[in-house]
Amino acid sequence: MAELTQQAGTAPATPVSRPGRLRWNAALIAGTVLLVVTGVVVTIAALTMLESAEGLSPDIAQPASAAHWLGTDDFGRDLFARALVGAQASLLMALAATAISMTAGVLIGTAIWTAPRRVREFALRIVEITVSYPELLVAVVLAAILGAGRWQLVVAVALANIPATARLAANLSGSIHQRDFVTTARLTGVPRRALISRHLLPNMAEPLLIQVAAAFSTGLVAMSALSFVGLGVQTPDYDLGRLLADALPAIYSRPIEVVGPTLLILVLSIGAMLIGDGLAAAADPRVNRTAPRTPPATTEPRQRDSADAPEPAESSAPVQVRDLVVRRADGTPLVHGVSFDIGRGEILGVVGESGSGKSLTALSLSRLLPEGLTAEASRLRVAGVDLLGRTTRRELADAVAMIYQDPGTTFNPALRMGSQLTEVLRVHRGKSAREAREIITGLLEDVHIVDPPRLLRSHPYELSGGMRQRAMIAAALAAEPSLLIADEPTTALDVTVAAGILRELERIRDETDTATLFISHDLGVVEELCDRVLVMKDGVIVEELSAEQLRSGEVTDPYTRMLLESVPRLSTTPGAGA
């Protein structure tokens, strides 16, 4: 708990966008206030009210009164004072158990990952097995073995909590271990202890803090339960569970006796849980982004330049985009009024660096914008389908198909290729499984897959990246889309494989009417493949070029020129001479 309040104390007054800084939220504030106030009150009570809590007096079994807020018990002891003092005992025991289980769990979890591989595998299995036993059950068994008493109770609950923490810490450090900075630190010769304290622990702080709150809360409840059933604290010592057990025999005659301990257990565990929830929310950046800080930019002018510009009246191009604006939830525009057409059988390239808005432009056309982003435009049409209005999934599937960057993640690894590739045909076109298979087999042959039936039988992991990307193209073509969007389809592939994929796209252009939107950061690829190229920067089209202009370097915009000059090119090539 000490860490929690300390962390709370260092939080900045103004929202800072730095990750790792604690961002306050309602649950966190409520939990902290609840715990801190209760903690202070019971600590003061333990120092000042000991006499009335433990001293015998002639006021036996009194009801609630101004002198005794919750009455007295059979020995004349003040029940309010007893509840507070007992709560202090419970609080301290829960803190001790939390401290022990967290320290041991984190040590075990991190040490596992600095150990040799065999030891690690063995230790991980052990931790997994121990996690499978319910914590309370383990605590009951341990408490029975260790015998009754305060410290025995603390140890039993702490031990029961260790496996969960150890597994969390092991999982967290496992993922941090794969990162390069740990490898470089190891190579540099950073000692093991420093490796843990500098690199592992700081990067797993948030989940561990949340675990602290959870361990405290469950620990408190578990201890109270054990004391209540007589396995924990024994008379004359008392904690909240013991007080409840003492109150039980008189529950019908003096029900007020259970009120104090019950309320305190509730307040303490709810406080800890609220802190846990609050920390979890603070650690999740998505939760914090819900409220826009700036008012929506209503003054943002709708760009109508192209409407003023001489526009080919009612162009017949299958893909028409006018004044496309993509905004974040807070109104910040990311794409500022982009307009273009793609003709039948034309490949339009869009190039730009990260953050240029090229992918957002493409995603608007397939209505796949990430959550929180909205697209508006004066016209957004693909083959007669108005993407601004309501479209059915089927219309969309018929109009637009996509090929993604990473063929490793586009397929479901658990399903065979056959069912995934024929899905569009079966679901949207109502083809039978056999028809769909025949069509897709033909398409796979078209993209130069050697043995289509075998590919349809295999799982994605059995295929190379190039084969998966070819299969992706075949699936995209199965819907006979009017627009094919290829978002960096060759970036994740080796050059020789990428060259093959580019040839497939060329062939599609030559053999079908499909319009292609080809997105890439690689000018070399774009100038080889595309008929026309848009260069984007910061959400604006800075230049439109024909492929010839790009190839011959006839560019006017300084940004395009800079891009072109940045592309490393082979100056020595076979045949061209040294």
Binding site: T183, A185, H199, G524, R569, T572, A578
Partner: protein, 268 residues
């Protein structure tokens, strides 16, 4: 073969055991003479990154030797091995994973200088000099990695590798996670440092054009075998192996390539 510099002789690395073992490197020999940069080219699965890891001892080797200035590094004791790892530095590929997000740039550089204690105060001058080398302001030392762009982070990673004045630098795909304009900037920085420091470098990349720009010599790796090696001019102008030829033919966007593009079409 010169004794000075880094060299690898007949290195074999196998993963797994028995029938399911895969050979990642099969008798690979590469020599990086002092003051030279050798580009290591290959496609995914060719074993380029495995070679880097084997040199640094991150993956165990089955046979073969790694020599630094003529000394076999496999038989080194703990202390000597540590010294070797200071003389040979790795620059990792991904600038988002190579810097600890919870430590300032100064702390990261201090750790490279003094792994055990990592005190920033004691190494202020060296840290500022290292940052200046990669054209970053001195106040960058007090900032955290997330305050920098990908290109700046990669420059910090370069500074981290060079701050100990290593004899050999292994750069593993250091520009492949960057935008082209940023890549150009990092490459020109590397070219300048190479000239100023007379660096010995093993430059690993899948991008032939980048390798051509940076390296003196080039080694082409395919399925764990060296298929070709020689000076950049020789290998690129007149490749001896079919594989190298097909790699060169597959590079997109060359201005006069009708013949080689057709040749590439024969490939799968």
């Amino acid at each position: 073969m010169t004794a000075e510099g880094l060299s690898v002789e007949e290195l074999t690395v196998r993963f797994g055991r028995g029938a399911r073992a895969t050979t990642a490197l099969d008798g690979v020999s590469v020599a990086v003479p002092a003051g030279h940069t050798v580009g290591l080219v290959g496609e995914s699965g060719s074993g380029k990154s495995t070679l880097a890891k084997a040199i640094l001892g991150i993956v165990p080797t089955e046979s073969g030797r790694v020599l630094l200035d003529g000394t076999d590094v496999s038989g080194l004791g703990r202390q000597e091995r540590r010294a070797f790892l200071r003389r040979v530095q790795l620059i990792p590929q991904d600038p988002y994973s190579s810097l600890n997000p919870r430590r300032t740039i100064g702390q990261t550089l201090a750790e490279a200088l003094d792994p055990a204690r990592a005190r920033v105060g004691r190494h202020t001058d060296a840290i500022h000099a290292a940052l200046e080398d990669v054209a970053l302001p001195a106040d960058a030392a007090h900032r955290y990695p997330h305050e920098f762009s990908g290109g700046q982070r990669q420059r910090i990673a370069i500074a981290r590798a060079l701050v100990t004045r290593p004899e050999v630098v292994i750069a593993d795909e250091i520009t492949s996670a960057l935008d082209v304009s940023v890549q150009a900037e990092v490459l020109s920085l590397l070219a300048r440092l190479r000239q100023e420091r007379d660096l010995t470098m093993l430059f690993i990349s899948h991008n032939l054009a980048v390798v051509e720009q940076v390296s003196d010599e080039v080694v082409v790796l395919h399925h764990g075998h060296v298929v070709e090696s020689g000076t950049v001019g020789d290998v690129f102008a007149d490749p001896a192996s079919d594989y190298t030829r097909s790699l060169l033919a597959a590079v997109p966007g060359r201005r006069d390539s009708p013949a080689s593009a057709k040749k590439g079409a024969a490939l799968r």
